[in-house]
Each structure stands twice: as structure tokens, then as C-alpha cells.
Amino acid sequence: MKSLAREVNWLGKATAQADEKALARVVQVLDGLKDRGAADQVLAQARQRLRALRPARPLGFMRVLFLPLDGAIVASARWRRGEPLVPRSALAPLAQLVQQRLGAQAEQVAAGCEGRTTADLAGVAQLGAMLWPVAALALPAAPPPAWAETGLSAADYGAIAGLCRPLWEQGELLWAAMAAGPEGPPEPLARAALQAMLPAGPQPTTAALAALVGRAASPGQVAMIAAQLEPLCRAAAQEALDRVLDQPLPQLDLLDLAAATSTAATLVARLEDLERCSLIHGERQRRLVALKRTADEACRERFLAGMETQVMTPAGQMMAGSPASDTVVLSLETGARQLRGLELVGRRLGSGAAYDKAMATMTEALVRLAPMAGDGADDLRRVDLARLVEILSGPDAAVQMLAAGGG
């Protein structure tokens, strides 16, 4: 058993450090297992990254059921009594209980999940509308016999069930706002969801706010909406912001350039939104500045690494004789465009001069390659280099390069 635990631990660590494609493959394999058992622990160490990347996961009864509680679910070890959280160990027994009590209705939902993933937002809304309201009514007052296996007390069941019920009752409104997270969410959706939670009390409202903020492109704006709803919500809003500020940044170095660029763009938009949030001042303001600095460094490092791997090294190899087929040159240009995209995003974090310098270095290096360019079908030609310079530094630099070489 010890060796199995060691292996699971090792696999977990490797998964947490894998690039996003490998991570997606691991997730796909594990999601495909009927019973993940100990293998579930493999994902435990990568949960932070999964939260940030949000790869599409296959829908299942349990996953749909707990989507409205997305911001409240924590590893069992991190769960504390009295906090508006649900330990991961409670999910399976609760789902089983709801499934048993709903019978045919649950089967219908489970069947509806077939072939769908979490990326199907409308599908989740449709299945959720069938499930969440009835699930809220289905939870009994007393814990099921299997509850003992969770290691939680009967009293804990009451508290956890008490948190789940209102979030399921308002699941449809909440999901409408969560699904629209990449667009803000729009103020009316966020307000409607939070307003609906207020009668349930501070804990469910806090959990709903956490779910919204976790997916929001504008977490500061969502927190402001919550704070304005009722004086009591102000603390919940600040707590939600604390969680956002405590969240580790996405590991851009483990993402390919396209994914790094889009992740960085989302991150920068979130940070800019937090800068506009009047709830952030004093200590939180300092944390935000530090977060922005770290994000800036991560972007610059990813940019420099991408510059080397996506452009300079392959261009150098092609000049040394590696065939520059149309596909290879297209991929070189794609890399250059992605770098340009990352640069545009990165500049918003404040290091414009650093990007200017890096771009100038890269352009100079490409210009230096120009005299060695061939003109065969499989050569990296002068015009290919000029196009790279154009993508990276603009047409004027490209024209200068061609003019210098009489092109």
C-alpha cells in the first residue's frame, strides 16, 4: 500500500508540473475511469492549475450537481467547521443520496450528461434546471449511513446540507451569472444571482460570491456589486477579494505560447479590474501591486522563453540547413504573432521598455541572418525573414531590412 501511495504522490507531483497538453491528457484518462479510486489523488495536487485552466471535463451527475458550489469545494484537509465550504470527501455521499432520492429524475439527468462536457454551458443550464431545484428539496435532515465514511460528524452534515440547499435552489440564476463570467459577468446577471442568495444568509451568499468571483473576468466589479447589496455583504466581498489575491498565478511557463497569451490576457484583465475596485486599499492594495509585479515577471519570462524557442532557435536551425517548408515557416510566423500578442498583453503590466528591448534584440538577430538567406523552395528566404520582422517590429523595420540587403 505504501508503494501505491508513493506512486500516486509522485504522479500527482508530475501532473502538477506537466505542460497543459499533458495535464489535459491525464485529466482525460482519469475522467474516463469509471471509478478513479486512489487515482483521484493524482489530480489533487493539480487542482489549483485545473481551476485556472478550466479544461472541459465530461459532465456527470455529480459534476452538474455541484457546479453551483464551485467556489466552496475544498480539499478535505483544508475544510474547517463554521466556514462556508464543502469538503471534497462529502461530494460523493451527497451526490449518491440525491441520486437515490430522485430516482428516475436523476437517471434522466445522468443520461442527459452523456457525451457532454463542462464547455457546453447551455447544456449545463438545461440539466441544472432539471436537477438543482429538486436536489434542494431532496436532501434529508439526517445524514445517510455512508456519511460515516467521510470522517465528518452528523452535525457537519447539517451544516453542509444547509449550505448546499440554497445554492441549489438558486442554481439556475447562479449558473447564468457563472457561465457569463468571461463577459464580466454583466452587472444585471451578477446582481440577480447575489440578490437571490441574500435571504439564505451570509454563508450561502459568501459561497455564491466565491463561485462567481472564481469565474469572473471582473472579480472586483462582482465584489463591488455584492458590497453594495447589503452592509453585511461587504465583509463577504472583501473575503472573496482576499481569496482572489491569495490565488497563485497561472504558471505561464507550463503553457504553450497561445495558451499563455490568452491566460495572460485574462489575468491582466482581472488585475486591471481589481485595480479599479474601491474595496481594495491599504494592505490589499500592496498585495495587488505585488501580484501585478509577479505577473509582469511571469509574462516577460514567458516572452523571452518563447522568443528563443518559437522564433530564434527554429530560424537559426533553418539557416543552418533544416528545411524551411511552407508549414514550418507558417509555424514560425504563428509563433511570432503569438509573441506579439503576449507582448501587447504584457505591456499592460508596465514593462514596456523591457519588451521594446527584447523586440529590438530579436529584430537585430533576424536582420543579421538575412545575408545568409537562400532562395530555394526549402530555404528560409529573405522575404520570410522580412515578414517575421514585420510581425514583430512593424513594416518599417521590415522595409529597412530589405533595403539594407538590396531586396
Binding site: 511552407d326 515557416v329 510566423e333 500578442g341 515578414r387 513594416p395 522595409v399
Partner: protein, 377 residues
């Protein structure tokens, strides 16, 4: 679009833009710089070329700038600078001459490898088209003028070398006076093949590009209308207007192509006319090219747009629909200019009601425009 460009453009606003001739409308140039998309070149005063920009980068109106001022207006892409320079040296501005010059630039790789490959394929296919058309003209000549009862098989069943020999004999036989020796007539036929390369013959047995473009416009517009019918009232309105613009253009194009192809019904007479007044033959042949000039890009915009980008594509297509100049009224048999003006007015109103979701500053749009170039080569 950037405010400084808007201010700069306002000095060149053309006000009521009502070109009377195709030449005044200008020839579409396949620019890749987002601000220049849909730009046209036309000869201006003292034959200095001008750049005509209709609704550049979403800005409403038509702007006419000196061609030489293009780089001051916005930084053109590497490809557009090369096209700008190459077209500047053209003696004759026609859709065909501009297309040939632009293809040469694209084939050199200024718009990327994909556009280069597409330009080379298109140039090669034009050459094939010319050869094929020349052969079909010989077949036609034999069919039209070989004395009956020769006992020879129908020319389409004969070998190409026999057909060429039979055509020469026909030309010898037709030479009643001393005006046109067969060698000169064969040369004239080669030139005619080149002139008719776009329009081809009736029924398009050679797969000439303009009749194919008519089919492409019809297919794309059918898709646009289907998209409109399945969507909002706003979508439907736009799709119908685009559909009507295409319909008016295609009606004129069909007349133009039929008139051009009708000249081939008597090849011997055409050869004579070609020797005496080639411009009048060309004027008829080029009508189709002028009419459809710009529509290749409009179709490529639709073809290159993903399903979620259809509205954005329709918005750009609406901005590029070309005016039909008044000269068309002389030969098309209906008020095409008036109908197109009304449709373009509707499209203008519609464009004001929707927002463009385009980021003019990023390289993504340039990349898309390079794909258009490859699609419309």
C-alpha cells in the same frame, strides 16, 4: 479606428461619390493592411493615380487620396508597399493588369507562403486557361467555317494537331482577299484567347474564371441569405440587402458575359475586327471583369469567417459592395446604378446599427487579410 487617421481622412472625404465610369470607380487592390481593405486605384487628374477608400476600417464614407500619399495615411504592410510600388508603374489600370501585378507580389512571398502558393497556382491556371481557350477557338473556327461534306470527323473528336491543321486550312480558304494571311490570323487568335481568358466561351467549357466567379457569388450569397433567415431581424435585413446587391451585379454580369461571348459566334469576323478595332472588342470583353471586380474579396470574407464571426463578416462585406457606375445603364437594360444605390443606402443604414467587433490594431486582422488574398487569388 485611430482618431488621428479619422481626422486625416476627413480632408479627403469625397462627399457624394457617384462614379460614371468603371475607371472612375477604380480597380480593387488586394491590400492586406486592415485600414486599406477594399481600397481601389483610379487615374486622377493629369493621370496621377488616386487611392479610393470606401468605409476604411469601419469609418463611414468614401475618401480619395493621392496614390503617392498612401504611406502617409497609414503604415502599409510589407505586401501593400510592394503592391503600391508595382501598381504605380502600370501604364494601364484594369482589373486584369492590377490582378497580375498583385499576384506577382504575392508570389514573391510578401503576404506569406500560403498566398504565394495560391498566386502561383492562379497564374499557372490562367496560362492553362489561355491554351485551352485557344484550342477551343480553333475547334469553333473549324465548326463554323469548314466546308460541309469534308468527310472529316467532328473537330472535337479529332487530335489537337489535326485540329490545328484543319483550322489553318479554314483560314486559308477564308482568305478571299489579301487582307489577312493565315499566320497573322493565328496570331490574332492567340491574342483573342488572351483577351477572352476571363469570360471564356458560352457554356464555359474551359472553366473560365468570370463565369465561375458568378457561380461563386451566387453560392456565397445563397449561404448569406440562409444565415440571415435563420437569425435575428437585423441579420435578415443585412443578408437580404447583400443578396440584392449580388443579384443586381449578377444580372449585369450575365448580360456582359453574354455580349462578350456572342462575339465568338463568328470567329472569322471577330479576327477581322480584332485587327481593325481591338479596343471595341476589348471594351465588351472587359465589362464582366470590371463589374465583378471586388466581389472575389467579398466572397472570400464570407468563406474565411467562422460561424461565430458571420455577423462581423457581413458587416465587412456590406462595406465593400461596389457601386455600379452609370455607364452600365447604357447596355444592361435596367437601372442597375439606381438599384445598387438604393441597396447600398440600406446597407449603410444597417451598418450604423451594428457594432464592429474588430480590433484594427492587432496582427490578427492582417493575418486574416492574407488568407483572403490566398482565397481570392
Amino acid at each position: 479606428m485611430q482618431p488621428d487617421i479619422t481626422a486625416m481622412l476627413s480632408r479627403f472625404a469625397a462627399g457624394r461619390y457617384r462614379p460614371v465610369t468603371f475607371l472612375e470607380r477604380g480597380v480593387a487592390v488586394p491590400f492586406t493592411t486592415p485600414h486599406l481593405l477594399g481600397g481601389r486605384i483610379r487615374p486622377g487628374e493629369r493621370r496621377m493615380p488616386e487611392l479610393v477608400l470606401a468605409n476604411p476600417a469601419g469609418a463611414e464614407g468614401v475618401y480619395i487620396l493621392p496614390w503617392a500619399a498612401l504611406p502617409d495615411f497609414c503604415p502599409p504592410s510589407l505586401h501593400d508597399r510592394a503592391v503600391w510600388a508595382r501598381i504605380n508603374g502600370l501604364q494601364l489600370l484594369t482589373p486584369r493588369s492590377v490582378q497580375a501585378a498583385s499576384r506577382k507580389v504575392a508570389a514573391e512571398g510578401f503576404a506569406g507562403r500560403e498566398a504565394a502558393a495560391a498566386a502561383r497556382v492562379a497564374t499557372g491556371s490562367n496560362e492553362q486557361q489561355r491554351v485551352l481557350l485557344h484550342y477551343h477557338l480553333l475547334l469553333e473556327l473549324v465548326r463554323q467555317a469548314e466546308p460541309a461534306g469534308s468527310g472529316l470527323p467532328p473537330p472535337e473528336r479529332d487530335t489537337p494537331s489535326n485540329v490545328e491543321g484543319r483550322a489553318r486550312r479554314v483560314l486559308e480558304g477564308l482568305r478571299h482577299d489579301n487582307s489577312l494571311p493565315p499566320t497573322a490570323a493565328v496570331e490574332a487568335l492567340e491574342e483573342i484567347s488572351s483577351a477572352f481568358e476571363g469570360t471564356g466561351l458560352r457554356g464555359n467549357p474551359t472553366g473560365a474564371p468570370l463565369p465561375l466567379l458568378c457561380l461563386e457569388v451566387a453560392t456565397v450569397i445563397q449561404q448569406v441569405v440562409a444565415w440571415g433567415d435563420a437569425g435575428s431581424a437585423e441579420q435578415r435585413q443585412c443578408a437580404r440587402l447583400l443578396g440584392h446587391a449580388a443579384e443586381v451585379t449578377l444580372r449585369c454580369a450575365r448580360v456582359a458575359l453574354a455580349n462578350a461571348q456572342a462575339q465568338l459566334e463568328d470567329i472569322w469576323a471577330l479576327v477581322h475586327r480584332w485587327r481593325v478595332e481591338p479596343d471595341s472588342v476589348l471594351a465588351l470583353v472587359e465589362r464582366g471583369e470590371w463589374l465583378l471586380d471586388g466581389w472575389r474579396q467579398i466572397c472570400a470574407l464570407w468563406r474565411s469567417s467562422p460561424p461565430e464571426g458571420r455577423l462581423g463578416a457581413a458587416l465587412e462585406m456590406a462595406a465593400l459592395v461596389p457601386v455600379i457606375p452609370a455607364e452600365v445603364g447604357d447596355w444592361c437594360g435596367f437601372d442597375a446604378t439606381g438599384e445598387m444605390d438604393t441597396t447600398r443606402g440600406g446597407l449603410r443604414t444597417w451598418r450604423r446599427t451594428v457594432r464592429a467587433h474588430q480590433d484594427w490594431a492587432t496582427g490578427r486582422l492582417m493575418e486574416r487579410n492574407e488568407q483572403l488574398l490566398a482565397l481570392a487569388a
